[in-house]
Symmetry: C2
Subunit: 356 residues, 2 copies
């Protein structure tokens, strides 16, 4: 592969959306990064081109067998007008882990990070500056062979698209209500749960719909074998603070390892707050709740960074935490992590990559 990225700028520019009415994932910037793969050429023709539709025959594999992977990260504008990426290397590393599981050829992680930086620097005017806003980055790979056989595709397209997004919390950080799912299963060991692939999200829609009907915003997944052990929430990992100690489910072969999860563990250790990754059952959490030891619970993910949990619905019972309010640790983690991401807090662990 040649490392030279061909750039074709758009002859028109779209109007930037009003920063106060930004929705998640609906508006896209003027350009995107694209490269293609074939068995003979490897990844080839890396290019930045105008954001526009792609044209595919109805027999293209992506429409049939779900062999897709994706990532999600953000670019932030600091008060000093610097552009920061948060641990982008982790996302491209995870993309390759997903590729392994889905039989998709590896990308060159460093080159992808470089391509992202070039794209961001062309689109930097799209990065909003209001508190809580950012530019959501979606790298993804689709199979592009025209073939109906069940087999790994021989051709792929890698793309990065960008979408300015609003603050996750319109009125300040606010706890969510979570439905503990004991019927549907998201993933099981030996399946695709550790990969960021469409399959896991398709499998989750039905339970999500059910949770929302019952007034809950997201689903807490239990393990697929015994439906006892806690896995993760919708598109977040989960942490509990029980009697002064923080616990999160250990990586067990069916949980996605979040970049935020990893960062939170680093921060907690840095602060000398006891944190452990282990197998933890919903029954244990319930018992801690009954005994008055369940101090906080929160989800972690790129979208909301920290999502304090105000209520679980479990076994036909409502478990209300902290009077439904944001816990102290959740708030401190949120402030610190968003502070690092936006340059307000010292970059303790060298997580920030600046785009020039």
């Amino acid at each position: 592969m040649t490392n030279k990225i061909n750039i074709t700028l758009s002859t028109t520019r779209k109007e930037k959306p009003n920063p106060s009415s930004l929705e998640f994932g609906r508006v896209f910037t003027d350009h995107m990064f694209v490269m293609d793969y074939s068995e003979t050429k490897g990844w080839y023709d890396p290019r930045i081109v105008p954001y526009e539709p792609i044209s595919l025959y109805p027999s293209t594999m992506v429409f049939h067998y779900g062999q897709t992977v994706f990532e999600g990260l953000k670019a932030y504008r600091t008060k000093e007008d610097k552009i920061f990426l948060f641990r982008p290397d982790k996302n491209f590393q995870r993309l390759n882990l997903s590729n392994d599981r889905l039989c998709i050829p590896h990308i060159d992680e460093e080159f992808a990070a470089e391509a992202l930086k070039q794209l961001i620097s062309i689109e930097k005017d799209w990065i909003p500056s209001a508190p809580g806003t950012s530019l959501y980055i979606r790298p993804f790979i689709i199979p592009t062979e025209y073939y109906l056989g069940v087999a790994p595709s021989k051709y792929y397209r890698f793309m990065i698209i960008l979408s300015p997004v609003g603050s996750y919390y319109k009125e300040g950080i606010k706890p969510v209500k979570i439905y503990v799912e004991d019927n549907y299963v998201r993933a099981v060991k030996g399946g695709t749960g550790t990969a960021k692939t469409g399959a896991n999200y398709a499998a989750s829609l039905k339970a999500q719909e059910n949770a929302e009907k019952n007034g809950y915003s997201q689903v807490l997944w239990l393990d697929g074998l015994e439906k006892k052990y806690i896995e993760e929430v919708g598109s977040m990992n989960i942490f509990f603070k029980i009697n002064g100690e923080v616990v999160t489910p250990a990586l067990n072969g069916s949980i996605l390892e979040g970049v935020t999860r990893n960062s939170i563990i680093h921060l907690l250790k840095h602060w000398d707050i006891p944190v452990s990754e282990k197998r933890i059952s919903m029954e244990e959490v319930y018992q801690a709740y009954k005994d008055g030891f369940l101090e906080e619970a929160f989800g972690t993910g790129t979208a909301a960074v920290i999502s304090p949990i105000g209520e679980f619905f479990y076994n036909d019972e409502k478990m209300v935490l902290n009077n439904g309010e944001t816990g102290e640790l959740s708030k401190k983690l949120y402030d610190t992590l968003t502070g690092i991401q936006t340059g307000k807090h010292e970059d303790l662990f060298n997580w920030i990559v600046e785009v020039n």
Copy 2:
């Protein structure tokens, strides 16, 4: 929805492929059926149009979250030049079951069958007549909303595309070698295994690749919980003949119910051959093999109809069945079912739908 199908014929016609060199799923006919869905209009604008690429923004949900469903069936040309479909109602019924699981709105099954008949009658010259050849039919639904949120799409496209396919068995029906998979998992109860959705096939690629590396053509999936009980093979259901009795795994919430499986059970009952659907472990099958009671094993599916199994690789051991040759019952089922499909055998159960 208006039931009137708008027809736009192609101004050109592609050359038909040589019937002796037909591959599966590579060549498509001149036209396709398309209809769209929106929440306000329901399914609308049903149309038969030239087979051509579709144009979608990179943010289209199908590229990200795997919310897809599909079907597979065939049209056959009889010696008298009649065009037969085999139980198409079953496929559209199953498509709606898949839709339920994936939060996709139902299609009108009768209308879809009618649309298929109109499409086939326009494309009838594409149906090959050589023994074993047919026209493969691929109905499928993709989410078409431009949105990166994890939620059911608000817009969909339903399409039917057609591909002339060669004989599955170039040199007569021939047994396959099957690798019993005890590491990767295809599906688990509460997951998407009973639906025909991309996710299940994406999840299967890695194990399939591994089987092929070891010289086996397909994977036998065990249950995702204990990895003990038999589920199905690649894209086929599975049957065993043990000491005069036929058994197939019962539908357990993670197996896809094949139309061929259902038809085989009907035929066996009609012939007064004992057949049962029950939970069956690989260990039981192995024991029957050791005791000399495992008489035959075969896969069933639209592609090959009956695929006799000549060898299993299980627990580091090769289990060779029937000297690797096609069993008597497998052969009889194959001849009868393909006979019904191509008008050579009486249509015992009213399975055939003729296209005029």
